[in-house]
Amino acid sequence: MQVTMTVNGAEVTRDVEPRLLLVHFVRDHLGLTGTHWGCDTSNCGACVLWMDGEPVKSCTVLAAMAAGRSVRTVEDLARDGELDPVQQGFMQCHGLQCGFCTPGMLMTARHLLDRDPDPSEATIREAISGQLCRCTGYQNIVAAVRWAAEHPHGAAEVDDEAVTQSAPAAPGEGRSETEVSA
């Protein structure tokens, strides 16, 4: 069957099998491999992208169901070479390690901030609770979203002090005792 949809602002039309999942459509048919696949059961959220402005798990959506709709993927977050503040926040706060869950986390975070520009940590945790990260223990993801909330226009307005203060991973913030007499 033929499907037509808008993906990252551009209209695309492809012949697909009716059973084709949206995640495979964007990855295999459009080459947008930033959206990942991580489980069979809609638990992990590595495949989160936006459909008509709402985050969806694209492993649970058929490409045919996206016909006539607007899809946005992680590749569309950066504009004119400038990273979205949530992308900057993930970098500043070390909110990613292997990077596999990151695109899904970014898409959910951007959506959250669009609705709630100043979310609490608890709100952020709830927003990403349908997504798994196996590397970060989530704390720096939460911090990254908070960073983006505090810097809605990104790093342009950031001075070094602000970066240090809002990044929980900064050395010196925890407790440290140094012994160098090995």
Binding site: E17, D28, G31, T33, G34, T35, H36, W37, G38, C39, D40, T41, N43, C44, A46, T73, V74, E75, L77, Q87, F90, M91, Q92, H94, L96, Q97, C98, G99, F100, T102, P103, L106, E121, E126, I128, S129, G130, Q131, L132, R134, C135, T136, G137, Y138, Q139, N140, I141, V142, A169, A170, P171, G174, R175, S176, E177, T178, E179, V180, S181, A182
Partner: protein, 809 residues
Amino acid sequence: MTTAETDAARADAEAGATAPRSAAGNPIGFGRMLRKEDARFLRGRGRYLDDIQLPGMLHGAILRSPFAHARIAAIDTSAAEAHPKVTAVITGATLESLGLAWMPTLSDDVQAVLATDKVRFQGQEVAFVVAEDRYAARDALELIEVDYEPLEPVVDARRALDPDAPVIRSDVEGKADNHVFDWESGDPARCDEVFAAADVVVRQDMTYPRSHPAPLETCGSVAHMDPVTGKLTAWITSQAPHAHRTVYALVAGLPEHKIQVISPDIGGGFGNKVPIYPGYVLAVVGSIVTGAPVKWVEDRSENLMSTGFARDYHMRGEIAATRDGRILGLRVDVVADHGAFNASANPSKYPAGFFNIFTGSYDLQAAHCKVTGVYTNKAPGGVAYACSFRITEAVYLVERMVDLLADELGTDPAELRMRNLLRPEQFPYRTQTGWEYDSGDYPRALRLALDMAGYDELRAEQAERRARGELMGIGLSFFTEGVGAGPRKHMDILGLGMADGCELRVHPTGKAVVRLSVQTQGQGHETTFAQIVASQLGIPPEDIEVVHGDTDQTPFGLGTYGSRSTPVSGAAAAVVARRVRDKARLVAAAALECSPDDLEWEHGRWHVRGDPSQGRTIQEIALLAHSSLELPEGVEGHLDASAVYNPPNLTYPFGAYVCVVDVDPGTGRVAVRRFVAVDDCGPRINPMIVEGQIHGGLADGVGMALMQAIAFDEDGNCLGGSFMDYLLPTAMECPPWELGETVTPSPHHPIGAKGIGESATVGSPAAVVNAVIDALEPFGVRHADMPLTPAQVWLAMQGRPARTDIAVW
């Protein structure tokens, strides 16, 4: 270690606070630095295995056994072969004719690539379909008819050696039982004496249930055997590309120089991506058979049901002490469930991994362990999931036993630990089982953790809450890991010594490329290793390209697991950078027309001692080394070096953890309220990355203690085959982590670093379990096995905690 080297380690440790900054703002040395690799990951431009598309590429899928143990009577593939999009169907019989039906495991056993005689675990590989697309390949699996004759399975590890147990490994000639190995360590006679004389002996059976690392990206491979050049290029989700290449050469008889293994960006490893899986081999066979590149990517259920699991240790611990709380001895008897094939990835002389580090962080008079490995009708594996070669199990055992002893003695568990921890002056310390701990100040780490947690206040709060009927628990653990395997004299995998190569080249303009034998699965090597080189050479880290993960581009080494990257490969990077620095000195001396002995190194520059204005920067030297400058005899020009680092010993990171939980008395639900983690991994090259590693490991600990287990029913059906059943922690289960640090450099490591990748995964489960058991004290609960799910906690409150490794209906 010489004084000069000690001084160097000290200087490196101090450099963390004082490293100069590059024009780009990065530390030229140790310190917080944003990660280089983030740029591509944030934009969706990572290149993971499944992102690879090659012209004409076909897709493979594996048919798997629905039975845990069954004879294969017949396989009919005709309908699958007739599928219009199917290119090839491969069975065990096909492979048998090629001599490829069995492959060696990393533990010197063999494993079926595709089952021939019978299937030995649910999810075992039975047939492989190659088709034009991934959906068609899966469709064709449905068309294969397999006639199974079910056999009685062996599910309970503790009964695998019963005389009447079915024999799983009928493929091994003369095999009449399910025994894999016996392994002992320590002095049993001395233990008997110490235990006989002890005031108090506490015993406890405990199971560390089967778990799975479940990286978010599953395992997969793209194999391309070029029929013209005869070169095999295999992209593999591998933590050990060089080891994989050598094994392929040995197994398939392919010439090693015609094999290129590439580990692309990897979506998490945690040990899951060390072994060689049948799917990897099948992708290669598929490419040979079809003449086209073949991609195989497993789904989540395949990942959980068939690839390297972790733990499954069934332990009986005994601890001996004096009445006043001096721990004297520890012994443990283990039944280790290795599944249907012994495929665990550990150094070959250590069949139980480093489990015999189970004496932990304490000064004991005697210790002994005996580990019996058994086959069961479950997936193979055992050493995976950030376990530092079974130290996870060891730490869990000793830290539970210490808590049980504290309970028996009526002593505070923090006080009991403080009384028995090794003292700083005892290092280097040789344990009762032969490990030589390199350095540490354990009491200081524990004091810091207790102080950060506000331990006394927590105990006071607990007393108040208990009086109100609330269940609050405080749990401690103290761990010592031995990581950085390892000295090649003692440690090898399939005969390959565990040394790591490294190559460094400084280009004429002073930019550099460093080639590693290890590669990252998220640990940030592209940043950290640039910082290591920067710390030794003074070249800004943004000017240093880190190349890794491609056997054609990098020197040989055994890979990234067991927290070995920084201890081994990081040492190699420091050594190779020092060699370049030494060579730069000769070039600078030639340029300055002085003796090399008259030169002094300041960060990034050689200058004349006593006249700092006379000097050359490393960048100037790089150009001079490639110029027409006349160099002294024996100096060849250019600025590069290589090294192979053979570690003299393991490094021994350690830490003290405090966990606070609240248990709902009505439902048994556990909420982790706080988690304080003090880690000592020596100097921190990039503190931001180190803390990220710890965060992830702490989440693992919460998951294992409270949620994760791969259990089986009595028929051998896997009960953890999807993320619906195998529960992993989300942001809701994880508290904000509270980190602290002490810094005790390793005296034998070039930059003093000890490794951090697995510390928190190793150390944290015991703290969580100890906290939950502590919370349940009003119910008289001594022990309950992980995972402490609401159901298990509720059963424990009723005085009847359940086995968690097998379902008891």
